[in-house]
Symmetry: C2
């Protein structure tokens, strides 16, 4: 077994947070009765928090029941050059009126990236034939971040 | 709110399985005490089963405690053209001697894609300073698959 030409190292926490700040696509893991569920999501990140637009579905149902989530994000710049960051956090649905201000803030941030809306709405439309769409915003309050990266030796 | 120019549709199960068969990178979700954990993995897929090479770490520890897992795979061919498939299944560590034959089969399949080995071994080397590496193979027995895809309208 030959020694690998690749070096894997841990990413300092501050840099993990920078990677999250510039990311827009991640995989969100949630769990119910110890069954995990993973879905790709688009988001915007601010320090300590990510915001997501969604419509009602399995992930929302599960996160309402168990707010503990894991967000995984990666940056791949070559076959042996990649970084993967994991954020553990808690689901917070931005309901009104309690979170009206933050919900508006999230909406403004997300609206600048219109495809989030389009994708979620399109999905909702095929699942709710009557065309009713209830936009839903949620935050993930980030508790901890870790990451590893690979670089060519 | 304008209507989206994107159509989302469910992917028939047979086609979901085809997408898994040609995939090599996915995100594996596991859960312990209802805390989800998501990591990127490389794998090879055969009908009903995926094979993974790994070394000991958090995901192995968690899957030994709770074998229920979720594998998410996507194919992105354009901004509004993507497919996402989710497989639910169960972790089966390919221990010897019980699974010797299947372990050898998995090793042969995975060896053809040498970077799996390199990446896992490189990671292990920084975490186990004495250089001891215990290669570990596991299977995910797939119980169910579902998927959705987006296409331009």
């Amino acid at each position: 077994m030959e020694l690998p030409p690749t070096v894997i190292s841990e990413i300092p926490e501050a840099e993990c947070r920078e990677i999250l700040l510039r990311a827009s696509l991640g995989r969100l893991g949630c769990a119910l009765d110890n069954q995990p569920y993973v879905v790709p999501i688009y988001f915007v990140c601010e320090p300590g928090c990510i915001y997501v637009f969604s419509t009602y579905g399995q992930k929302i149902e599960w996160m309402r029941a168990n707010p503990r989530v894991c967000l995984q994000v990666d940056e791949v710049t070559g076959a042996s050059q990649w970084a993967s960051v994991i954020a553990n956090g808690r689901f917070q649905e931005l309901v009104e009126p309690q979170f009206s201000e933050e919900r508006e803030h999230a909406r403004e941030l997300l609206e600048a990236r219109q495809r989030w809306w389009l994708t979620a709405l399109a999905e909702r439309r095929i699942r709710v034939p009557d065309g009713q769409v209830a936009p839903l915003f949620f935050a993930i309050r980030i508790d901890s971040v870790t990451g590893i990266r690979s670089t060519s030796a």
